[in-house]
């Protein structure tokens, strides 16, 4: 199950960046609103354009009066292209570990290099640490190699953790440069540990490195953007490992609050929530002819939502964005070449609706969306509380979606992308519940992503954006 969860976390985290019922509300309402907007906007706008065209024809033949302008036509076509850089593909690595003695201490580090639609590359490095507690029964001792788990155990547990994380991103002109920045930043951290950051010893180490043909060029490079976030993660799982066959089931609910800052002074605050369920059985068996056959029958599903508010360099809110990511991944397959031969890569659909926060009406609309989703307050945006309107929006989100969609179509951005992720997990897990919780888990996940589709609203309908697709 970890294969899927890690993949899910990366899927959301790569794009940016309150009680249980509210979490569910945020995720479901965001998905509902954004999906409704994206799916309806093209047909609704097409209708308007068709009506306007018919009106003009009727006027031309002397059968009609004045025709209203079609909303959105005053914008230049280039103004509809989303400002957010699109990710064409990416690859990365996530190393994490946890130690449990009653409470769980967890930590991890990851990096990802993304190819952006404008031909540049973005390296993101992130670290996180957390403290959690759980209850459960059973034990598990297992090793995971290339997504296949071997071991013995039977367990059921539930846990909750408080997690704090942060990271930084660097823009590079090529994949090689991004890789060099990654290597140099790692070296910088190692040198900081062994020699210090700025002293005679460090100067000597840097000088010697250069004399031996090395380079310190990117070690002191400032990031183009950086983020900090904190949140809670809840998880319930049960599973059985019987040597070469494993079965499991899991449900999770995560919520993060964070801020991304950029070196030009602008920033984005975000509230991210995601939830999912999944389970299945997988493992090796031997055919009648004596061949090793790997089988996998799993079903994973997840939904995530991100609400973002962009701020200008002076700290004023300038845009509100709501993002929804969904995935259903049924896998029923068998392979003679192990897990690598299974066609089980999950596909995600991400939909984004963005409106500017230029007027009081914009802020009221953003407030309505936040309140309907259960977000009670956001500085500079939710200055007014309209309880009857909130109740109305919760029971009738369709009207809210129409208003949001209209504002986004006229003055904001609407876009949708689909992408497939691939991951390979290696790790060890040992856990036991013998009166107290004990456990040790180490995991190394290699992953990649390919964008298979990208469309945005251009004033007349949803159109493809070729440079954002592999």
């Amino acid at each position: 199950m970890a294969r899927w969860r890690r993949s899910r976390e990366r899927a959301l985290r790569g794009d940016v960046g309150i009680g249980t019922i509210e979490y569910l509300g945020i995720v479901t309402l965001a998905a509902l609103l954004v999906t409704a907007v994206v799916l309806s906007v093209s047909s609704a706008r097409f209708q308007q354009h068709a009506q306007a065209a018919i009106c003009r024809i009727l006027v031309a033949v002397g059968e009609g009066g004045a025709c209203d302008d079609v909303p959105g036509t005053e914008r230049d076509p280039a103004d509809y292209v989303p400002l957010e850089p699109c990710v064409v593909s990416s690859n990365g690595r996530d190393e994490s570990g946890s130690l449990t003695v009653v409470v769980t201490l967890e930590g991890g580090e990851r990096w990802v290099i993304e190819r952006l639609g404008d031909g540049t590359y973005r390296l993101t490095r992130a670290r996180e640490g957390g403290l959690g507690i759980g209850v459960g029964v059973g034990f598990d001792v297992s090793v995971t190699n290339d997504n296949a788990t071997y071991g013995v155990g039977a367990y059921a547990d539930a846990s909750v953790a408080v997690v704090v994380g942060g990271g930084e991103s660097y823009l590079a002109s090529s994949a090689e440069e991004a890789r060099r920045i990654l290597d140099h930043k790692r070296n910088d951290e190692t040198k900081d540990l062994w020699f210090g950051d700025d002293n005679l010893l460090r100067d000597g180490a840097d000088w010697l490195n250069e004399q031996l043909g090395g380079s310190n060029r990117y070690e002191q490079l400032d990031p183009d953007e950086w983020f900090v976030e904190a949140g809670v993660e809840g998880d319930a799982s049960a599973g059985v490992n019987a040597l070469v066959v494993s079965g499991d089931a899991e449900a999770f609910l995560d919520m993060y609050l964070g801020r991304t800052s950029r070196k030009d002074g602008t920033s984005t605050d975000y509230l991210r929530a995601d939830m999912g369920i999944g389970g299945g059985i997988q493992g090796h068996t031997v055919t009648g002819a004596g061949y090793d056959l790997y089988k996998q029958f799993t079903l994973d599903g997840s939904m995530g939502a991100v609400m973002e508010v962009d701020r200008d360099a002076a700290g004023n809110p300038v845009a509100f964005r709501i993002r929804s990511v969904t995935s259903w991944n049924p896998v029923g397959d068998e392979s003679y070449s192990g897990p690598g031969g299974i066609d089980g890569d999950p596909t995600y659909t991400e939909r984004v609706v963005e409106i500017p926060l230029e007027t009081a009406a914009d802020r009221r609309l953003a407030t309505r969306v936040m309140h309907a989703a259960g977000v009670p307050y956001y500085p500079g945006v939710t200055d007014e509380v309209d309880v009857p309107q909130t109740v109305l929006d919760r029971f009738n989100p369709v009207d809210l979606a129409v208003e949001l969609g209209t504002a986004a179509a006229d003055r904001g951005y609407i876009y949708e992308q689909t992408y497939t992720t691939w991951s390979s997990t290696d790790g060890v897990n040992a856990q036991g519940k013998v009166g107290v919780e004990l456990g040790l888990n180490l995991q190394d996940v290699e992953s990649s992503r390919s964008t298979t589709g990208y469309r945005y609203y251009d004033g007349t309908g949803m159109v493809d954006r070729a440079e954002c697709v592999v």
Partner: protein, 134 residues
């Protein structure tokens, strides 16, 4: 105990510890995990302290004041190690982030290892001297 010997011992402490610390840092830069590298550094620096102390005191007799002189050489060697200037001399980083606290931990451990080694070597010399007189 000759001053030259004490100076050589101090220089050997500083140079030996610096060389092994540098070597382990290179290993860390090559990808050896941090904790493993720090443990390796602590073991190698301990080896340097024990070997230099043993070599420097094994044939100097057993006068009690010599323990103090060896400790003085150790202190000078500690101060002369470039890694001390960055508060990263010995094993303090295994338990604390580099800083004043690790400097104190390193100094106590460094001096303790040298004095303990010298005490053993000088104690053995005294025992041998007593056997010789008997």
């Amino acid at each position: 105990m000759q001053a030259t010997r004490l100076i050589v011992m101090a220089a050997a402490y500083a140079a030996g510890a610096a060389v092994v610390s540098w070597a382990v840092a290179v290993l860390a830069l090559a990808g050896v995990p941090t904790v493993a590298a720090l443990v390796l550094k602590a073991l190698l620096v301990t080896g340097v302290l024990v070997v230099v102390t043993w070599r420097g005191t094994r044939d100097v007799g057993a006068a009690p004041h010599r323990l103090g002189l060896v400790a003085l050489a150790a202190l000078v060697g500690f101060a002369a190690d470039p890694f001390t200037w960055a508060a990263r001399t010995y094993l303090g980083q295994l338990v604390l982030p580099a800083g004043a606290a690790t400097l104190v931990v390193d100094l106590v451990a460094w001096t303790g290892v040298v004095v303990a080694t010298a005490a053993v070597v000088l104690g053995r010399a005294r025992a041998e001297a007593r056997v010789g007189y008997a």
